[in-house]
Structure formats: C-alpha cells, structure tokens
Amino acid sequence: MPVAASAIYFLNLRGDVLINRLYRDDVGGNMVDAFRMHIMQTKELGTCPVRQIGGCSFFYMRISNVYIVIVVSSNANVACAFKFVVEAVALFKSYFGGAFDEDAIRNNFVLIYELLDEIMDFGYPQNLSPEILKLYITQEGVRSPFSSKPSDKPVPNATLQVTGAVGWRREGLVYKKNEVFLDIVESVNLLMSSKGSVLRCDVTGKILMKCFLSGMPDLKLGLNDKIGLEKESQLKSRPAKSGKTIELDDVTFHQCVNLTRFNSEKTVSFVPPDGEFELMKYRITEGVNLPFRVLPTIKELGRTRMEVNVKVKSVFGAKMFALGVVIKIPVPKQTAKTSFQVTSGRAKYNAAIDCLVWKIRKFPGQTEPTLSAEVELISTMTEKKSWTRPPIQMEFQVPMFTASGLRVRFLKVWEKSGYNTVEWVRYITKAGSYEIRC
C-alpha cells in the first residue's frame, strides 16, 4: 500500500497552523515553516500543487480559506494523497454540516483529531466513508459501553460493518416513504480558438444519489450508454433504437456497485448506502453538445483604446434556460475607463481580476445577446510588453440539459418486502473550465 502522508497540516491563509497531525517521525515538526517560507510567501503559490523543499515533498490544496498540506519524505503516491485530502474534506463536511473553513476547524478540534486518528494510520489511508465512521465516532464524544442502555438502535459492530458483504449499509433501516433521488451533474470543459474551432473539449459527469429506502433494496439503473444498449439489444435480439447512444470513458463506480454483474450483464446494479453518495463518475470526449458559442472580436486601436464585441449564442432548446451566466472578458492591466452596451444582463469592469464581467442571470435557449464595450487604457512606462490576450472564461448552469446527452432509461428498485418507491431524476450541466481564446 502506498504511503500517502507523513504529516498533515491545516493552515489558514496567513500560514498559521490550525491543526496538525504527524503520522511518521521522518519529517520534522518545523517543516511547515519551510512551507510557509518557500511556498506561501512566494508568487509560486497556487502554480504547482506539489513542491519539494529540502528533501520533503509538499502536496497542498486550498479548500475555501484553509490550506491542507501533506508532507512526506518518502516517494509517496501523490494521487493517493490528494484523493485522501478530497475524501477527508468530504468527511469533515458531512460531520460539520456542510461547511469546511477556518472557523469550522476551530470549532471542532477534538473531533478532527479523533477523525484524523481514524482515517490514517502510520501514513496509510484507512476507511474514509462517513456512513461507517459516523457509527462509532460521534459528535458527542466517546460513549462508554457500560453507561449506555441497550437502546433502540442496535450497537453497531464496526468489524462486521467493515468486513461484511455489504459494508456500506446497515441492516434494519425503515422509512415511511421510500424515495430515491438521482442527479446527473456534468461539467463541460472547453478550449476554443478565436476562429471558433474546438481545441479541447470534454465532459466530466457524475451521478449523485440520495436514498431513503427501507431494508436491503437492490437497485438497477439503465442509461442510454453504448455498452448497456448493445447488451440489451443482444439479449432481446432486436436492433438498437435509433436514438443516440453515448460512449462513456473512464467509468468509475461506487464500491456498492456489483462489478461482476456489470462485467457479465452490463447492468449497473447495486445495494445503495443510506443517504447521499456518488454512484459513478465518467468522462465523455466525443459528441459533446456545447451549450454556448462565443464569438469575440477584440480590436486594439492604438496604445490607449480597445474595442470589445462579444456575442454569446445559446444552442440548447428554446424551452430551457441557463442560470448564473458570467462571462469574463480579460482586458489589459492598465485599463482605465470602460463603457458598455449590452442587450441583456449587466456588465462592469473588475480591476481586481482585470476582466470585464458580464452577468446574465437568466439566459433562455436559442438567443444571442451581445456586449460591446470601449476600453480606454492608461499609458505606462513599460511599453514593450504586449498584452498576452488571455482567454475569455464563462460560468453557467443549465438545468435539465446534459452536454453528453446522457439520459436515465430506467431505475428499478427491488426489495423483498416489495414496497413502492418514488424515483426522482434531475439533470444539470455546469461550466468547468469553459474558455474561448480571443
């Protein structure tokens, strides 16, 4: 098993240690000073998440206003370390009720120490699943087995939970109303040239589920992906539907999915954990439906004037609409004055990020609002540096739209008691790094 960490530090943005845990003694306690001196106080902060200083490697990540730093001196598995951090943050969030920031850490020192002890042992990651950990690490602290009465809840048997056949689900759950929520969340990454040709484009999606189901239900999920449909058409010996089939790459499943059945029958069937979890993740590189097209024209008129024209076209269905659309059009650092004309939304100049920020709260499909702006620049001493023209960035959310075209064909729930369930399915597409060169 790969080593993931010799020590883990939680720092605030100023570089003060909020909390730390040393798992091995091969790194000194003062290594965090090196981090502060050589990474936090230099301009390199944020450029490279892995840095090596004095024989130690630092892996760091910023989550809201906290830096999480992992220090190792051996040749550690970086991916494992980062995965550990991400999972640990998710765990903390589920314990703290959603927020993970400096204040949350300050308020939960004892709990965090307890969790840190549990989730990593001598640098090796352990069980990070919140469902399991919540069974025996409780907010109230340690409970003595003598003082507690045999309660209505059965005393959890941690060993059985971890080693049993269905380690992720407790037995004997009962809900009055059996409900399943399924969200398909996709984020589109795009890099487009100024001429409009796509340089790089992919969609990373995940299927999130929330289950409130009694007993030990067995669920089966059908998507319009290629493998599943082909399998089905073979089984039923009839040609596949003319509808689009989606080819999913790099699919990873939650541990509850029965992989043997997936391999043999090509169906996603699983016994879900209770509550929220991420069922699967996938990536799509071909046949992506781009929700927006951006057509920028930026003209530099001499040294002190620029003309910016940006047209944004929504190419999803007219009945749908995008929310929270933000278009950031970079301008040179010496921008002094700006004037705008927009057909919808609002635009302003943000000096802190050197961008014209154009916000459209509700953006219906099949429309094309435009922005035209005049930018005046101030003359500077260093004339020679020409402006590098960074790409235009876009943020948005389009509900009920999937850039991949993925659809849920069926979601079946089977339980031995045979109760009825209500299934809810939602789709949403967000912008990942959606960039258009100008």
Binding site: N12, A351, A352, I378, S379
Partner: protein
Amino acid sequence: MTMHGMRGLSVFISDIRNCQNKEQERLRVDKELGNVRTRFKNEKGLTPYEKKKYVWKMLYIYMLGYDVDFGHMEAVSLISAPKYPEKQVGYIVTSCLLNENHDFLRLAINTVRNDIIGRNETFQCLALTMVGNIGGREFAESLAPDVQKLLLSSSCRPLVRKKAALCLLRLFRKNPDVVNVDGWVDRMAQLLDERDLGVLTSSMSLLVALVSNNHEAYWTCLPKCVKILERLARNQDVPQEYTYYGIPSPWLQVKTMRALQYFPTVEDPNTRRTLFEVLQRILMGTDVVKNVNKNNASHAVLFEALALVMHLDAEKEMMSQCVALLGKFIAVREPNIRYLGLENMTRMLMVTDVQEIIKRHQAQIITSLKDPDISIRRRALDLLYGMCDVTNAKDIVEELLQYLSSADFAMREELSLKAAILAEKFAPDLSWYVDVILQLIDKAGDFISDDIWFRVVQFVTNNDDLQLYAAAKAKEYLDKPAVHETMVKVSAYILGEYSHLLARRLGCSPKEIFSILHEKLPTVSTTTIPILLSAYAKILMHAQPPDQELQNQIWAIFNKYESCIDAEIQQRAVEYFALSRKGAALMDILAEMPKFPERQSSLIKKAEDGEVDTAEQSAIKLRAQQQMSNALVVTDQCPANGAPPAVSVGQLSLVKVPSMVSTEDHNSTDQSLSQENGTLSKVDSQPPSADLLGDLLGPLAIEGPPGATVQSERNAVSGLKGVLDAVDGSAIVPVEEHTNTVQPIGNIAERFHALCLKDSGVLYEDPYIQIGIKAEWRAHHGRLVLFLGNKNTAPLISVQAVILPPAHLKMELSLVPDTIPPRAQVQCPLEIVNLKPSRDVAVLDFSYKFGANMVNAKLRLPAVLNKFLQPIPVSAEEFFPQWRSLSGPPLKLQEVVRGVRPMPLPDMVNLLNSFRLMICPGLDPNPNNLVASTTFYSEHTRAMLCLIRIETDPADRTQLRMTLASGDPTLTFELKEFIKEQLVSIPTAPWAPVPAPPAPPVAQPTPQIPANDPAAVLAGLM
C-alpha cells in the same frame, strides 16, 4: 506629513491594514489601482488635491511591493505645483518611482533647476534631496554647477548648504567624469573654514570622496583638516547640539581622520606635530565607560585614530601606546570591546615594529582563546597566528595544541591547520616539527587533512637526520591503545621506510614492528590498508637476515588480500607478493623512497585559498613571508623545475592603504634577509640550489629562502611577461612598473610545452579567465580555436586579443568580443597558414579588465614547427637513395651536440616520436643510432621529406651527433635547431655569478626519475 484631510488615503491604508492575508491585500490594491487609473484618465482633469491624494496612494502601493507602471507623468507634474504639499509629494514620489534612466526626468529638470536657484529654502531642500536620491547623469550635467554655487553661497542657510554638499557628493560619486571639480581645491579649502559643524560634516564627506579620487590636488586641505581635528579635540567652539555624550561631533572627527588617511604622508613638521598631539589626546582620552552609546562613539573615533596612526607610520612610542591601549581593551570584560581590541591588534600587525610590543600581551590573548564567545576566540586565534614568529612559535603552537583538546568542533579544523602551518613555518628544529604534527594528529585526527601528514612524510623523507627520530616517535604513538587512523597512516609509512634504523633498539625488531602495525589492520579503512601493505613489504625487505616466520606471516596477508574487492589493495597485494619472492632482488626494487622534489607547501596554499582577503589577513601573510624558519626552508631543495615556493606578494595590493605597499615590500625583504643572516649558522650541510634568481640580489644571492621570496615577488610584479622571459632562458626579468594583481594559475610555460605536444588543453588560467585551445593541423594549414571562459559571475570587459605572428605564419583571428558575459565561454577561431620553416613562435597579446584590474598576458601560441610535420615511415630502399642525393651543406647538415639531457635511448625515441619525427628502426645497423623521417608542410616548400640520423654515444649520454637532410636549406637548419633545443637540457636558470666565495652555490639537479624506475612507480603508488 500632510495627511490631514486626505480621507480617501487613510481609508485605503486602513483597508490594507485590515486585510487578513496577502490575497485580500492584492485584490484591494488592484481595485485601487483600477480606481486610480480611471481617475487619471478622466477627461475633466483632477484637482491638485485629488492628484496629490492619488499619487500618495500610488506611492503607498509601490512601497507595499506592487508594480506601479503608470502615473509617473502625474507625479512629475506635481513638482511644478506652487504649494508645498503638492510639491513635496511630487518630489518624494519621483525620487522613489523613477530611476536615473527614465525619460520623464528630463521633463522635470527645468522645474528642479528653478527650485534650486529659487529663493524658497524648503523648495531648495526638496529639490536637492531628490537630485541626490536619483543622481542621474543628466541631472549631474545640468544641475551640478547650480548645486556647487549653492554650496558656496554665503546667503544660504546652513541647512541648504548641508544638503547641497551631500547632493554634490552623490552626483560626484555617480558620475565623477561629469561633475567638474577643476578649481575645487580652493573652494574646498574655503569650505573647510566653515564654522557651522553641520555644513562642515557634509563638506568633509565630499572631501573624502574628492581626495580618494585625487589626493595630490587637495594637499592644501590637509592643514585645514588637522585644524578642524584640533578644534574638535580641544572642544573649542563646538555647539551643544553637536556634542554627543560629551564627545564633540564624533562623526566629523571620524570623517576628518578618514580624509587624512588618503594623503600619503604629512610633510609639514608643524602640522604633523599638531596632528600627533591630537591623536595622542584621542588615544589618551579614550577609556571604557559604562554607557554603551558613549563607548560606541568614542571607540569609533579611537579606531579611526588608530588607523590613522598606522597609516602615518608614527613613531614607535606612539605605536606602543596604541598597543598598550588595545592591551587594555582586550582585558575588558565587555566582549564587544575585547573583540575590537583583538581585531585591531591583528590590524596593527601590519606595522611590523609593534610585533614585539604585542608579544607582551601574549598571555592575555591566549586567555581570550578560552573566551565563551566564539567570535572572540576566532579573533584571538587569528591574532596568535599572525603574531607568531620564530621566537614565540614554540609557545604559541604548544598553546594551540593544548587548546585543541578543549576547542569546539567548529574551530578545530582551522585550528589544527593553523598550528600545522605555524609549526612548519617557524620550526626551530625539525624534530620539534615532527613532534608537533604527531601530537596534532593524535589530538585532532579527524580534523587533520591529508596535506598535513603528507607534509610530515615529505620532511622526514628529505631529511636523513630526522628519520630515526621520526621512526622512534611513530612507534611510540602506535604503542598507545587508541590510535587515530591518520596516525596509523603516518606511522605505517614512516615505520615501513625507516624502522630498520631502529632495529637495534629493544622491542624494535622487524617482527615486533610488524606485529604492532598489524594489530591496527582490522581497525582501518580501505584507504589505509594499501599503506600498511607497503609497510609490510618494506619491513620484509629490511628483515636481515630473512626471518622465515615473518615472511610466512606477511605472505599470508598478501595472499589474503589478493582477492580483495578494492583494486588498489588487490594490486598491491599481488605485486608485493610477486616481488617478495624475488629474494635479494627485492632490495633494489623496494629501495628507500627517493627524496621529494620541493614544492610549495600545500598547507600554506590551502590557508591562502581558504582565507578571505581582508586587509589584516593579507598583512599576516606578508609577515608570514618575511619570517620563514630556516630550519625547514634551507633543507628544501629547489628542483630544476621548481615552482617558486612560498606565496606571492601580489596579494599585497589588497592591503587597505595602497601607498604603503612599495615601502613595506622593501622593508620586508630587508628584514627577512637580516633575520636569515642572523640564523645562518644553523644551516646544515646542504647548500641552497642555484635555481633561484638570486643573482638579481647580488651579494645576497647565497641565501636560499630570501632569494625565493624575491623571485616570487618579481614574478608577481612583472607578471606574466616575466615568467615567459624566464622560460625563454634569460633570467633578467624586466621589472615593469605596473603591478599585475592577477596571478596566473599554473605555470604558463609548462602549459605551453604541454600544448606543443598535444592539440588541446589549457593555455592560460587565472582566477577570472581560462583560455583553452583546440587545434587541428592539416598539411600547412592549421585551425586553432581559442576558448575564452569567464569563470566569474561578473562580466569581463575590455577583452582584447591581438596576435603577433612571426614572419613565417599567416594568422587570422576572428573577432574577439569586447565583453565576456558571466560564466560564459567564447570561441575564437584562428586560421593559420605556414609559409616557410621557422622556429619563431606566435604570441597572443591578451588583455581584459575585471573590476578595476587590468590584466594583460602575453602568451605563446603552440603553433610551432613540429605541428606542420607529418610522420612518414620510409623503407631502406627509399631512404638510402634520398640520403645520398642530399649531400653536404646546406641541404645536409651535421652537428655534434653536447650538453644533451641524458636519457635512455627508448626515452629519446618517445621524445622524437612525440614531435612527429617517425623513428624507423632497423635502418641503421648500430643499435645506438636512430634514424627518423618526417614530412614538413609549408606554403613555400610544399611537402618536403626530412631525414634525420642521430648517433648517440653509450658511454657519454650527454653528447650525440645529429645529421639532417631535406630538400630545403632553411628547413634543414631550422629543424636541426629545433631538435637540438628539445634535446639539450636548457637550464631553467643560469648560473649565478657569485661575488663572495664562502659558499659557492652547487647545482643540485633533481635526479631525473625515469618512468620505468620501480622506485618511482612505488612513489607513485603512495
């Protein structure tokens, strides 16, 4: 500050202060910069108030470390504002944001000038401050006269004139060529009559700069400086505000004394007397008091006074007074003062006559060696090291040895090195030296570098008297229970070589010695085992009559190590095993080591490399050269090719006061000579070698060591050219006036000779540059590439390379760049065409500038005759007809060459082959004769076959008969001379004409060790 009312600014600053982290701060700053940009771009223009406010904000942002690359126009325009608050910010921001090269400054010059010549004093001050801060060339050109006027104006207040003086100083420092200082002598003199101490202090700073540039012009200022000093020392007319803790303006005192140090001497007796009175007063009046500030001030004055005393070469009495005062200082409890005392005493050592006086404080200095503060201990060590000479060496070295066992680890290495050097330099007798070094190894084995014990071995090997003593000592140390590995190495070597001398003593039979040594074998590392094996082989060889048991034991060990994984050990074991079976023949092969050729003590070299070249340390070095222990030096044989021993005086130029160098130099030589004379009676039987360029010193030529010192001095002075000339055979080294402070690394002549035989290598190297060469030769064409490599992190400038080709070579050097960037290498190809045969050598005149040093080197280029030779084998059928057809001079020349360097025939064959003369064996029936052939290429002769026959005399190797034949008379002659040059041993120094007969120098040519001599092979293995 006129911040009142600028609410926007204070809000901004408090926003920045409230930022939790850097990122928030950056966001706030960027936002504000955007705001400022918008404001500056506003068509309606800004009110002066707004402009002022935003420019202050810009300055604040700039001070936080962000780039501000706009708004300079606004800042500059504020300078011309009529009101003080705006003008102030304009000046401040301009001097912060702009540097001297900005074009915007041109816009301001006129306004600044108006302010300077204007009537408003505050504006004048602002302008002067800004000009001083920026100090650009254009400012200097257009404003210096006005500033000068201001400085001298009688109507100005002292405040303005002070600033004017400082502003002018800055302009002068930045652009000494622009500021016109002609006729300033009188004005400076006039300024020095000023009563106001503030103006005087500023003017004195200016004077220091002017005088450092050109002291001769300002000699009229000298008496005035003394007068000022006198006024201060007597505390006459010093206002209260310039008295600091009762000391009248210590700043002015220090500056005045600094200025005085730039004048070479004080000639006027009255002035001199007054000055000494003042100095006396300072020396007498300074004492250590409780108050730290007062101490600081009075010590600053005192130490400057000490420097001045040293500079003025004061009378002995005064010097001794200084030393006495310092002696008081080093006895004080307060560590800072003690440190200063020790440091200045070390500095005082520059002045040699105080040495005796300093010695009085030796006990106190030794106490300081035990100070809890390490910096004081280091100073004390330096001082002890510096004050050591023949008389007190024994005490000091013993003290150091004693201290070694308690010294902390950080210092031990330095300490042991210094002790070793002192022991080597000032040893009263050699057995003491051996004692000291062995003790040193015993006490601080871990800190003893190999150089130290190599040196002992060298001395023991070279001094027959010492061998018995050293062997006895070595055995004594080995008998101790715990022995350091270095000690094992030394002892093994010494016992291996010389234990047979002990054989008659009790417990020193070969067998016993062997068992003592062998006991250590399991404890040592692989580097020591080879030495032990050599020792065993030697013990075995010396065991007479052969001891069967010992032999079996040793053979068993050799056998065991024959399969050792370490190649060195394995090889020795195999070879010694095989050799030791040869019986009596062993005696010849394992003979005693030959004497080592004398070379510069690697220790001293190391010490030089390691030391920082500060003034005091070079002074120590200077003294180190003056007083060499004759015990060691005289026994050193100077080999024929010996590099000059000891160190160069070149470092002298680093001594703080340059004007002292020349006098010091002569003093040192004289003094060391007299010392050597005084101890000459101790000189042992070995006379000094004639290699020294001692004849330059006439009657003193017989003293070895001083001559050597002189030689190195001469070399240092005459620089590279001297070396070249010396190699060419003339010992009269032209002494040039300029001093080349850069010493070449390695022997240039040796490098040249090596390059004559091979095609690539280093031609020249000094601390700054390395010149490498790579050559290709094809028939009469040659292509030579010069690699000029800058070894430094600073560029070399004014690089020039000029080829001075002889008549027979056509050479074209491609363009050499003027500057070599830091750590860069430049290649300069050089095309060569050989026109006709000649032995003349092309010279590369190379010069460059590093910092203030101009370095010039004349280097011979290895485009020599043999490069245009092509070896060609000839058969008997080809040879004899040719040989016969070329009959008689001038095509065939014969000469009997005498004084040939004796060498065995195979060596001569190798030598000729290396010059591309192909030896054709079997053509001549007489085995003592050599026949060679080669082809010579030149434009004039084309390819020309040359035939050579050399007849040697086995009875007398120093003479031979040489016959040469070729189709060209010049070629025949030149080639003959060329080969002759190579064969004849050219003495590296001529015989010294000795006027005084008592000890005629006897040449001691180093025994030429042929490469196949087994002893030499063994020596190589050591």
